[in-house]
Structures are given as structure tokens and as C-alpha cells.
């Protein structure tokens, strides 16, 4: 025997041995794998049995589904979509029994020979098995287990049952699971009504829901749609002409604003609250029914107002639109609208774009309110010291000694000092030097106490400058605290969940809208009357210029380096706080270096929102307490204005304060209708 023949013989027997070992190994591997292979549920439709948690707006409209699936029978899905999915994902679906062997060989060949290219060969059944039982970890064992489960599913269920289960659990991105939900989210119609172009677009998404999200990357999604249509034509589901027509067909995507769950920042707040109370599993798996205070119409107006306000701000700051993508390149905004007489949060915007950043600036962000905090100072001063809106202070350079620290020398925003003026004018023109004198006279604790009584819960530093807003608060707190002023001193805690029911409709909890008297009604009204002047003639008069004319009160707030711009204001029924600023301590300054104030940055958003929110509403005045008298006084002396003398400023005084104005009070009783001015 020649040497090579001997070698061949050895190789043959060695190969035979290896083959035997491989078969034995595979056999053992099969049974080992089998041992902890998961049980397949019976029936397969069990995958969609969990009832979803449903969140409802105050109007009764359902605004979000969590968990669960909106399952549809196969005959309620557009045939175009079924064909598109099969053509794209697994065109031999109807022929194989769980594995597409030809595709497997091809994928093996490609993966082996073409380095860097990975070709999958998962059938629809394998994908279903993976989604139901396995993680997305890529291991050979996982792959084998997935394959075995696929074989079992094929052996137990009909092709239609498998396809139906697959279509009802597939992820399309943007929180849409299952074809029915996806069809509603992207096209606002049932899955049965999808046309060829729409079906092809949707069928292309599961490959990479984020990459092909048509709301963000329409062109990419369109390219993917073309691939799907080509596949459909290639496998004979449609003709090439039909494919060409579908490629050119116009896609009527649902407006982006309506795609993500409406008011996502609000819903985040609701979810977080629910999870804290009931636990994550209950929220996601127990099928709760949650009735919220959310007003979809107000929310839409809030979103529009914030969007247009931020665009205007981008123009002022000369920030190019191309800077998009980096959330720190643009200023952010937050808006909270609260029903004054209950504390119900009706609309909430937590940032420029929820898709870009989910950080909820309306609730989680504590920013310095600046002069927006002054109403609490004025209230505390009136309550503690007996001062009133006609009391006169001198606007002058002040230095407040602070024990153990350098003296505090606040400056006026304008840099000028205007001499003597009444407190009403000092507040409406946001004069810092007078605010500093007031806090010196009143003391810090009463100011903090007044803010706390109104509903401010964030930590407040016990320093005089706290009265000028040097401790951070959230827009939610500001809207809530100003609502206490709007109601004449009745404080309601803000809330967003009215009632929670289980899936059978049994009530688990319901909100009792309790309140407490936090402020003296007459003093609160005096502050409200002063805050009205902020809009009518003070730092917030842009509100009136922008066409909002209903009775309202409010206060601007701007921090020293123009990092924050605020406007918080209210009508007798609605309290709204708007904040504008950069996330990372950057100044809001235009290219000329001029800073953006609350009046310039936040008040226009407030005005636009309130104009829409109150459109068609009757004129409602703030309720005037019975002991309030309206008196015309001179703005610099606080003395009564004489009919023949210079024009006075109307101030609201308590009856006991009127006689102190000698010699002529000019007092006026509140009008029987409750009209203030």
C-alpha cells in the first residue's frame, strides 16, 4: 500500500469518527437544549391576553395604552400588508415548516465567505419564537432553541394562527406594537384600510423601527418602502407597475403632533406617579383605567404656543435650525396650566421636543424664578408689617448687612433708581431695591412661610435674596402657588389623576379636591390687584400688546445672567407658568449681547396660549373681598389723587387702611358685580 493511500485511509476513518462524534454531540446537545426549552402557551393568542392600562383625558378621550395589545384577526388586516410582510420577512412562509432551509444555506454561505456581512435567515415563525421567549442575545444555543420552538409552533398551529400572532406582537417603533396600533399611530386608520403604499411603508419598519421612523427620517423610510415594494414585485405579490405606482403614491402620515402619545411629558408624570403608588408591574400588566385632568385641546394650544415661542427665540438669538439634534444648542421651555379652583393640571409641556429629550422641565427642573418670587414677599410684608399697596418706599441704592457675610447690594434691572414710589408701582415695575428694603423690614421667615403656604415645596434658602428668587422652583410649583393667589388665598395641591379603576371598572382611588385657606383673602386680593398692573402697565405689558385683554394678573421673572426667563400669571380660573432657558446654564442673549427677559422670552408664549385657551370665554373678574376699597393715589407720594390734580394710580386697600390716607380718601366700594377695576 502506498503511503498516500495509507494517509487517505487514516483520514477516512478519522472523518468517520469525527462524524460519529458530531452526530452524538448534536444528539446530546439537542436533548440538553430540550431540557430547558420553554413551554409554548396554549392557545397562542395568550400573548395578547394582558389587558392594557388605559389613560384617559378629562374629556373621556383615551390618550394612551400601556402594555397589552390591540389584537386584530387576520381578516381585519389589509391583504397588502400581509403580502408585504411575507415578501420582506419570509417569502417561503406558506411552504416551510419553521425553517427556510434554502435561505439558511444561502445565509450560511454568505456569512462564511463574505466577511463583514451578516445575513439572517429567520423565518416569521422563528421571529415569533424569538419575540415570545428569548432575549436578543446572539448565541448559537439561543438560535437553536429558537429554531426548535419554531418547529413546535409550526407543528401545533396553522399558518394563519402563526401569522396573526406575529402581526399582533411585532414592534413598529414610537410605542406601537401590533399592526392595528401601528396603523392607527402612523396613518390614523384601521389596519384593514391600509393601501399598498402605506402597507409597504409599515412592513419595512420592523427591521429597524428607529432608523426607519417615518416621522423622523421620512426619506429613509421611503427608501425602505421601495425595497419592500421591489420584494413584493419580485415574489409576485404585485406587478412591477403596481409597485411603481405605489412608490409614487403620496403618503398621508398622521400629523407628527398626534403621533407620540399626546402630551408625553404629562403622561410621563402620570406614569411616574402611578408607578410610585402601585408599582411598575401593576401599571404595565394589570389593565388599570386611569382618568386624568389632561385637556387635549389646551395641551395642543400649549404645544403650539411653546413651539412658536421657541422658534421666535431662536430667531432672536440667531440660532440656526441646523443646530438641531443637539438639545443643548437650543433654548428649552416649559409650560404648566392649572385649574385655579381645583389644582387640576390641564396642560403640561416639559421641553422643546419630547422625542429629543424626555427630561421634564415642568416638574423635575428647579430654576431660579427671579422676580417671579416677589408676590410672596409683598404678601408677607403686607401681612406682617401692615404695609399696603399705597405705602411709599424710595427706590435707591441699598446695601443690606448680612451677619457673617458680605453685605447684599441688589441692583435694579435697569440700573436706574427712580426715587419714591408706592409699592404697587414697585411691584409692577419689579424694582429690586424696594424689594430688598421690604425683605429687610419683613424678615426672611415670613417670606418663606408665605411661599410655602401658597404651595412652593422646593428647598428655599434662608437668606434675604430668596425674596428675589434665588432658590430654584419648578414651573409646576409656580403655577400652583400663583393659583392660590387667583383663588383669593385658597390653596389646592396640584394633581393630575382624578380616578383610578381596575379593568373591571371598580374604583381603586379617586381624588378628593380638598382645599385650605392659606392666605388672608383681602391681602391676597391686594397682591392680585398689584399683579394686574404688571400686565396693564408693568414689565408684562407685552401680554396686552399681544392681544390678551381678559382680566388677568402675573409676574415676570428674569435671573441675573439671563439664564432663566419666566412669566407666571393667571385669570380667575386658570394659572399658567412659562419658563424659558438653556438646559446648561447658558445665557439667553441675542448677538448684540442683550439679555432675554421674562417679558420678552416667556410672556409672549403665555399670551399666545392664554389667548387661545380663553377664546370665547366671558370676562370674569377676580372676586373682591367685601372690605376692599379702591382708591386713587399719587404714584410717588401715596396720597389721594385730587380730581383736579395729576392722574393717580388705583390701589386696593382694606377698609381699615383707607382712613390713613389723609386728607381725601376717594375710596370706592367694590362694584356689585365683583368688578375690581
Amino acid at each position: 500500500m502506498t503511503a498516500w493511500l495509507r494517509r487517505l485511509r487514516i483520514a477516512f476513518y478519522l472523518g468517520l469518527l469525527l462524524l460519529g462524534l458530531a452526530v452524538a454531540g448534536l444528539w446530546i446537545f439537542f436533548f440538553v437544549t430540550l431540557r430547558d426549552l420553554p413551554q409554548v402557551p396554549e392557545p397562542l393568542s395568550r400573548i395578547i391576553e394582558t389587558p392594557p392600562t388605559e389613560i384617559y383625558a378629562a374629556s373621556g378621550e383615551r390618550i394612551m395604552l400601556i402594555g397589552g395589545r390591540e389584537a386584530v384577526a387576520l381578516n381585519r388586516v389589509s391583504p397588502f400588508f400581509i403580502q408585504a410582510v411575507i415578501a420582506t420577512e419570509d417569502h417561503r412562509f406558506w411552504d416551510h415548516r419553521g425553517i427556510d432551509k434554502l435561505r439558511l444555506v444561502k445565509a450560511f454561505w454568505v456569512n462564511l465567505l463574505r466577511t463583514g456581512r451578516v445575513e439572517g435567515a429567520s423565518t416569521i415563525t422563528q421571529q415569533l419564537a424569538k419575540n415570545l421567549f428569548f432575549t436578543f442575545q446572539r448565541t448559537y444555543q439561543r438560535k437553536l432553541r429558537e429554531l426548535l420552538v419554531a418547529l413546535q409552533i409550526e407543528a401545533r398551529y396553522s399558518k394563519n394562527e402563526i401569522l396573526e400572532a406575529y402581526l399582533n406582537q411585532i414592534a413598529f417603533g414610537v410605542g406601537a406594537h401590533g399592526v392595528e396600533q401601528a396603523s392607527q399611530v402612523f396613518f390614523g386608520k384601521p389596519a384593514l384600510q391600509l393601501n399598498l403604499a402605506e402597507a409597504a411603508l409599515l412592513a419595512g419598519l420592523p427591521k429597524s423601527p428607529t432608523r426607519y421612523n417615518p416621522f423622523r427620517n421620512f426619506e429613509r423610510a421611503k427608501e425602505r418602502q421601495k425595497v419592500v415594494l421591489s420584494r413584493m414585485a419580485a415574489v409576485g405579490s404585485i406587478t412591477t407597475e403596481e409597485a411603481a405606482l405605489a412608490r409614487q403614491a403620496r403618503l398621508n402620515l398622521r400629523p407628527p403632533g398626534r403621533t407620540e402619545p399626546a402630551g408625553s411629558y404629562f403622561l410621563d408624570l402620570v406614569l411616574k406617579d402611578l408607578e410610585e403608588r402601585y408599582g411598575t408591574d401593576v401599571v404595565h400588566h394589570a389593565g388599570l383605567k386611569v382618568f386624568t385632568t389632561f385637556d387635549p385641546q389646551l395641551q395642543a394650544w400649549a404645544a403650539e404656543s411653546v413651539q412658536s415661542g421657541l422658534e421666535r427665540l431662536d430667531q432672536i438669538l440667531k440660532i440656526p435650525a441646523a443646530a438641531g439634534g443637539d438639545p443643548n444648542a437650543h433654548p428649552q421651555a416649559a409650560l404648566v396650566a392649572i385649574e385655579a379652583h381645583s389644582g387640576a393640571v390641564r396642560a403640561l409641556i416639559g421641553g422643546r421636543d419630547y422625542g429629543e429629550t424626555e427630561y421634564n422641565r415642568a416638574v423635575q427642573s428647579n430654576r431660579l424664578p427671579g422676580s417671579g418670587f416677589k408676590p410672596f414677599l409683598y404678601y408677607a410684608a403686607f401681612e406682617k408689617t401692615g404695609l399696603h399697596p399705597a405705602s411709599v418706599f424710595v427706590d435707591r441704592k441699598v446695601t443690606i448687612p448680612i451677619p457673617g457675610q458680605p453685605p447684599w447690594a441688589p441692583r435694579n434691572f435697569s440700573g436706574d433708581y427712580d426715587g419714591p414710589m408706592i409699592l404697587k408701582r414697585a411691584l409692577s415695575h419689579s424694582v429690586n431695591s424696594i424689594a430688598a428694603q421690604l425683605v429687610e423690614r419683613t424678615g426672611v421667615p415670613p417670606v418663606i412661610d408665605a411661599a410655602r403656604r401658597c404651595g412652593i415645596k422646593s428647598p428655599l434658602a434662608r437668606v434675604p435674596s430668596v425674596a428675589l428668587g434665588t432658590s430654584g422652583v419648578s414651573p409646576l410649583e409656580m403655577a400652583s402657588a400663583f393659583a392660590t393667589l387667583a383663588t383669593g388665598g385658597i390653596q389646592h395641591d396640584p394633581f393630575w389623576i382624578r380616578r383610578v379603576e381596575d379593568s373591571a371598572g371598580r374604583i381603586l382611588e379617586e381624588r378628593i379636591m380638598s382645599s385650605r385657606r392659606a392666605l388672608d383673602a383681602s391681602i391676597a386680593f391686594q397682591v392680585v390687584d398689584m399683579l394686574r398692573a404688571v400686565l396693564d402697565e408693568g414689565t408684562g405689558n407685552v401680554i396686552r400688546q399681544l392681544g390678551f385683554h381678559l382680566p388677568a394678573a402675573g409676574k415676570t421673572g428674569t435671573t441675573d445672567e439671563f439664564n432663566d426667563a419666566w412669566f407666571t400669571g393667571f385669570t380667575p380660573t386658570l394659572s399658567v407658568s412659562v419658563w424659558v432657558g438653556f438646559d446648561r446654564g447658558m445665557s439667553l442673549r441675542d448677538p448684540q449681547g442683550r439679555g432675554i427677559t421674562g417679558g420678552r422670552g416667556a410672556a409672549p408664549i403665555w399670551a399666545e396660549f392664554m389667548r387661545k385657551a380663553t377664546e370665547g370665554e366671558p370676562q370674569r373678574e377676580f372676586a373682591v373681598p367685601s372690605d376692599i376699597r379702591f382708591v386713587q393715589v399719587l404714584p410717588t407720594t401715596g396720597q389721594p389723587a385730587l380730581p383736579w390734580g395729576p392722574r393717580g394710580v388705583e390701589v386696593a386697600l382694606r377698609a381699615s387702611q383707607v382712613p390713613s390716607l389723609a386728607p381725601f380718601s376717594g375710596g370706592r366700594e367694590p362694584s356689585p358685580t365683583g368688578g375690581g377695576q
Binding site: M1, T2, L5, L8, R9, L34, D36, L37, P38, Q39, V40, P41, E42, R46, I47, E49, T50, H96, R97, G98, I99, K101, N131, L132, F133, F134, T135, L148, V149, L151, Q152, E154, A155, R156, Y278, G279, D281, V282, H284, H285, A286, G287, L288, H341, S342, R498, D502, S503, A504, R506, I507, L508, E510, R511, I512, M513, S514, S515
Partner: protein, 305 residues
């Protein structure tokens, strides 16, 4: 028998490979492969085997995990809902406020209809009820028609009562202090007790004959002030053996306990008398000289509520 020998050379190898047995084995193999490609018998066999062993395998994987979470979540919610229903049922069936309060843990609450609360209110001692909320205020609210439900919430230091309109806005809210709740509880417990066992009567328990003799010596308005509803005593079956006067006054009223004996059983009926009249009687019972006129009670301030 022919000896088995291995092929000697390549030709021998080829000859043996393409001999009939080799061809048959090859054809059978090829047939199996073709049959598999067309009929998928391997997949069917494995699949059928897996179906047959399905019930023996573990309930593991994402879908089962989710199922377990759903199950535990639903049972948690079920517990919450049934607890709440139990409170509600108990509240609906309660004949007095102290029963409701006794069954609630701090922080828990029960919702009642406005009518049910009015019934409970009527059953409360006059002074305590008036101290909670004036009957005229309640009448006004009931008459306005907005008051639809009442929410009772047990706090650590008493009971919060919220009178609600249909949208759960609070029309009136008030707190019943722990001391008042304790009084209510005492009244509820008094039925099957003797006077000694009820707090507040020690040292002020008198024989019935002595009490009624003193009562008879009072003027009519004083007697009316002391026992405003004597008909309740007339309804009692059994004999009143002893009478106790409480040392606590609440909103101008003082508890008077009448111990009634029926056979070998004793029970106490609690009524409320106006504090000034009770003081007058007590002065008589203890042989002190009574001060004149109503509204001058030495009991005032003893246990201010």
C-alpha cells in the same frame, strides 16, 4: 464465510463504493434528503416530538415572565379593589360613625352617600354632632342640592370628613378630634356594660332613687335641660338601678348614663343633658348649694373639647 478485508488500493475503493450496496445506501440517503426538502419530515418529526413533551417543559421566557407579572399585578389590584369594597360595604352597613371609624386604618377612607351621613349625624349625641358641623349648615348644604357624597378619612389624630359635590369638589370639610371619636366609641360600647366600666363616671354614680328624687326637686326647665328626651327612658324595658354623670362636657352637653337591669343583665343607656342642668343636679346630689341660673357650669373647662 468470506473474511472482511479493507480495500487495498484506490481502484478497490472505487469499485466497492460504486457497488450495489453502496449505491443503494447512497440512493436511500438522497431520497431522504429530497423527501426532507419537499416534505420537511425532520421538522415535522421534531415538532411533533416537542408538542408531545410541551407540558413537561418549564414555563420560562419573556412571555411566561410577562404572564407571571400580569398575574401578580392583577392579584395585587384585586386585593386593593376588594379591600376598598369591603370598607365601602362596611361603611354602607354601619349604623353609627364609631363603627366606621373603628374599621378604618389611618390614611384609609370610606365614601358614603349624603343621605347615609345625615342618618349617622342624627344618631350622634347632640353636642358632638353640633360640634362637628351645625345642623343648620348641614340643612343648607342638603337643601342646595350639590352635596352628593361624604368621604370619611381616618387620620392619626382624628377623622376628616369631606362633604362632596358630584365632581368631588369639597363643599365643606371638618375634622372630628380623637377625643370626640373616643366619646363616640364609648357610647357604642356602653350598651352591655355597667357604669363602673365606662370611663368618666367614676365617683359620680348614684342610686336611681336618689337621682330621680333630686330630679323631681328641680324646676321644670331644669328637668327638661337635664333629660331633654324623657320618653327614651320610658321606652326602656327593665328597671333603672343607677345613674352616672360624666365628668366631661362637650359643646355644652354632658353624658348621663342610666344603668338598666333586666333579670341578671345590666346595660347602660347614655343620654345627654345640658351642662348647667347637670351641674345643678350634681349640687343637689352632693348636698351643695346650687348656683342660680343656666349657663354657669363649673364643669365648663374641666375637659374642654
Amino acid at each position: 464465510m468470506e473474511d472482511l478485508t479493507e480495500p487495498k488500493d484506490l481502484r478497490d475503493w472505487a469499485a466497492r463504493t460504486f457497488a450495489l450496496p453502496g449505491l443503494v445506501v447512497g440512493a436511500a440517503l438522497a431520497a431522504m434528503i429530497v423527501a426532507e426538502v419537499h416534505l420537511h419530515w425532520v421538522e415535522r418529526l421534531v415538532g411533533a416530538y416537542l408538542v408531545s413533551t410541551n407540558s413537561d417543559r418549564p414555563e420560562s421566557g419573556a412571555i411566561w415572565e410577562k404572564g407571571r407579572k400580569a398575574l401578580s399585578a392583577r392579584s395585587a389590584v384585586e386585593r386593593l379593589a376588594s379591600d376598598r369594597e369591603a370598607y365601602q360595604r362596611m361603611a354602607r352597613n354601619s349604623g353609627n360613625l364609631s363603627e366606621i371609624v373603628g374599621s378604618l386604618a389611618p390614611g384609609q377612607g370610606a365614601m358614603l352617600s349624603a343621605e347615609h351621613f345625615r342618618e349617622l349625624y342624627q344618631k350622634m349625641p347632640q353636642g358632638l354632632a353640633a360640634d362637628m358641623i351645625s345642623p343648620f349648615e348641614l340643612l343648607r348644604l342638603a337643601n342646595e342640592g350639590r352635596w352628593s357624597r361624604t368621604y370619611l378619612e381616618k387620620a392619626s389624630d382624628g377623622l376628616m370628613v369631606y362633604l362632596l359635590e358630584p365632581n368631588n369638589h369639597v363643599l365643606r370639610q371638618f375634622k372630628v378630634a380623637s377625643a370626640s371619636l373616643a366619646l363616640l366609641a364609648r357610647r357604642a360600647d356602653a350598651a352591655n356594660q355597667t357604669l363602673e366600666n365606662i370611663a368618666g363616671f367614676q365617683g359620680r354614680i348614684y342610686a336611681a332613687e336618689r337621682f330621680f328624687a333630686a330630679l323631681a326637686s328641680l324646676a321644670e326647665d331644669e328637668r327638661r335641660g337635664l333629660v331633654p328626651q324623657p320618653e327614651r327612658l320610658l321606652e326602656v324595658s327593665g328597671r333603672i338601678t343607677r345613674v352616672g354623670l360624666s365628668d366631661e362636657a362637650l359643646a355644652g352637653f354632658v353624658d348621663i348614663g342610666f344603668e338598666v337591669r333586666t333579670g341578671s343583665q345590666s346595660r347602660v343607656l347614655l343620654l345627654q343633658g345640658q351642662d348647667w342642668a347637670v351641674w345643678r343636679l350634681r349640687s343637689l346630689l352632693e348636698g351643695k348649694r346650687p348656683a342660680s341660673g343656666p349657663g354657669k357650669s363649673p364643669l365648663e373647662g374641666i375637659s374642654p373639647q
